[in-house]
């Protein structure tokens, strides 16, 4: 019985913990497009205090301040880029979940492409080198091949293979 009660309490607590999302309801908008922009922004701006959360997710005081600031700017008619620039100017590129394309982040943007190209290159190289096998024979080997082709019948050939496979 006590166990059931504990479980119920835990479930109740879990439900409570999602309540902070409801805080966002306090931001009211007349214009639905502004509301959409606000929601898009707070889900893409990273909270500098609690590092792997957006300012929409975070309960930190600073995240609330930044949400308020975002709300004010959006209400005053700021564009998405203006709000992002405002945050980046103060908190650095860190503040935005989409890293800009610049020399220090080039590896992030081009890395996957390089890996795919390298993979394709390796496959191409292997396929081509497999096709080239009979060109790579030395003169000795070519002479041997000619000899085998010229003198031996298919039955002898299989015998020779068997001899090779046998260690004794």
């Amino acid at each position: 019985m006590t166990r059931l009660l504990t479980t119920m309490w835990l479930v109740a607590l879990l439900c409570l913990s999602t309540a902070h999302a409801a805080n966002l309801q306090t931001y009211s908008f007349d214009d639905p497009s502004k509301e959409a922009l606000f929601r898009e922004l707070i889900n893409e701006i990273r909270c500098p205090k609690c590092q792997n959360q957006t300012i929409a997710d975070s309960d930190a005081d600073l995240a609330k301040d930044l949400r308020d600031r975002t709300y004010l700017m959006v209400q005053e008619g700021a564009t998405k880029q203006e709000v992002v620039d405002y945050m980046v100017a103060r908190y650095g590129d860190f503040a935005y979940y989409r890293p800009p394309v610049q020399t220090s982040t080039l590896v992030l943007w081009l890395g996957p492409l390089v890996v795919v190209l390298a993979g394709a290159g390796v496959i191409l190289w292997r396929v081509r080198s497999r096709g080239n096998t009979d060109i790579g024979l030395s003169t000795d080997e070519q002479a041997q091949l000619a000899k085998l082709r010229g003198t031996s019948s298919p039955t002898v050939d299989t015998n020779a293979d068997k001899d090779k496979g046998d260690p004794s």
């Binding site: 500098p48 590092q51 005081d61 600073l62 600031r69 103060r90 908190y91 650095g92 860190f94």
Partner: protein, 198 residues
């Protein structure tokens, strides 16, 4: 033939080299502190602001108080335990002649802040009171304590996150402050007095 096998070795060694590079990269990440962000303000002038004094709500200060000589700008609050830990060291630095400006960040009340300064000592030449933390946002502050080093032109040179203690001062902040001071003292005398007046 020799050329070919050389190429083969290079191709074979590539994954190993990649692995070693990745290991070094990840190992370094293991020991770096992700909470220490470099300030976006480094090399830029301090943002414009107008804030009241901690002691006197009537008295207003602007960004001009951060210009004219090298100084530290210390962000603190009474709700911040680390600020209490660093306070004694800030007092000591002030006694040694280091010029420090205080920025009180979103404190519970003005009375609490004044009480703190009266009981623990006041190492600050100027005391700014940022009740809603709006100026702190312009500085890119994301917690307390944070300490900015500002040069004589009012530009941010460095931002330290966390408490200022003897080790930090000796190895990080101190040398940078000394360098900024040397630059300040080496300029012509008349510029120095004019700057200090502003």
């Amino acid at each position: 033939m020799a050329q070919r096998s050389k190429l083969k070795w290079i191709i074979l060694a590539f994954p190993l080299l990649l692995f070693i590079w990745l290991t070094i990269f990840l190992l370094r990440g293991l020991f770096s502190d992700p909470t220490e962000l470099s300030s976006a303000l480094v090399g830029k002038p301090v943002p414009a602001f107008e804030l009241p004094d901690v002691y006197n709500p009537e008295k207003m200060h602007t960004e001009a108080v951060l210009k004219g000589r090298p100084m530290l700008l210390n962000v603190w609050a009474t709700w911040c335990p680390t600020c209490q830990a660093e306070h004694a060291y800030l007092n000591q630095l002030a006694d040694e002649g280091v010029y420090i400006v205080g920025l009180n960040y979103k404190d519970d009340s003005r009375a609490k802040a004044v009480n703190w300064l009266n009981t623990l000592g006041d190492p600050y030449q100027v005391n700014l009171f940022d009740e809603r933390g709006m100026v702190a946002i312009d500085f890119g502050v994301y917690g307390a304590p944070e300490t900015f080093l500002v040069n004589m032109n009012g530009e941010v040179v460095y931002r330290h996150v966390g408490d200022v203690n003897e080790r930090v001062w000796k190895h990080v902040l101190g040398p940078k402050y000394e360098a900024a001071m040397a630059e300040y003292l080496n300029q012509p005398m008349e510029a120095q007095t004019a700057g200090a007046g502003g």
